[in-house]
Symmetry: C2
Subunit: 118 residues, 2 copies
């Protein structure tokens, strides 16, 4: 399955989140959108889970693939849901498991936030 076919994407999921932070002051709307993503990554457990999904073979992982990060499976699922709600992960149920992958465009969009402009 290609990344493009992973899931129907919402507009919020495919829209690049943010201009380079050193290009010009962000507008309130841009800041709201980007801050929601950073906030989701601003928890060590969530960041480790994001990293596990992002680095997993084929770029996707289910809860069954997640290594122990010191929290219960319901807590893992809760954090994965938060990452999905922030537009960082997409999910798809296949049989017993829900599979997560990094939303296409998210890595590039966030890298762009920190690219040196000008």
């Amino acid at each position: 399955m290609s990344k493009a076919e992973a899931l129907p994407l919402t507009e919020a999921e495919v829209r690049p989140c943010c201009p380079p932070l050193n290009e010009r002051p962000l507008t309130a709307e841009e800041a709201d959108e980007a801050a929601a993503m950073f906030k989701a990554l601003g928890d060590p457990i969530r960041l480790r889970l994001f990293s596990q999904v992002a680095s997993h073979v084929d770029g996707e992982a289910c809860v069954c693939d997640i290594s122990d990060v010191g929290v219960s499976q319901p807590t893992v699922s809760h954090h994965l849901k938060k990452l999905r709600e922030a537009g960082l992960l997409t999910s798809e149920r296949r049989g017993t498991w829900v599979y997560y992958r990094v939303t296409p465009s998210v890595m590039a969009s966030l890298a762009r936030s920190f690219s040196i402009s000008g």
Copy 2:
């Protein structure tokens, strides 16, 4: 004044914060360090302030340069302090004002977090 002379930097300020998030699962220690930065950027007002400093002429700004983001000056100062504590900004008092600039290496380190590895 060159960036290198802006302030004596602590080890935490100059050390690259994080490997690419899709390279391998972050360790707990790496996640703690990177999540602290993302958490600081995970507030829309702080993110706008960071963007104002990062995009200001010469790459530095004092509170006197900050455009209205809808909060009081003490609140602006509080948020700038949080950004400094997270290692995202450095500060230097010159005369009446404290000047802030983005910590050298921070933009590159965070861009690297989202670079596509492999």
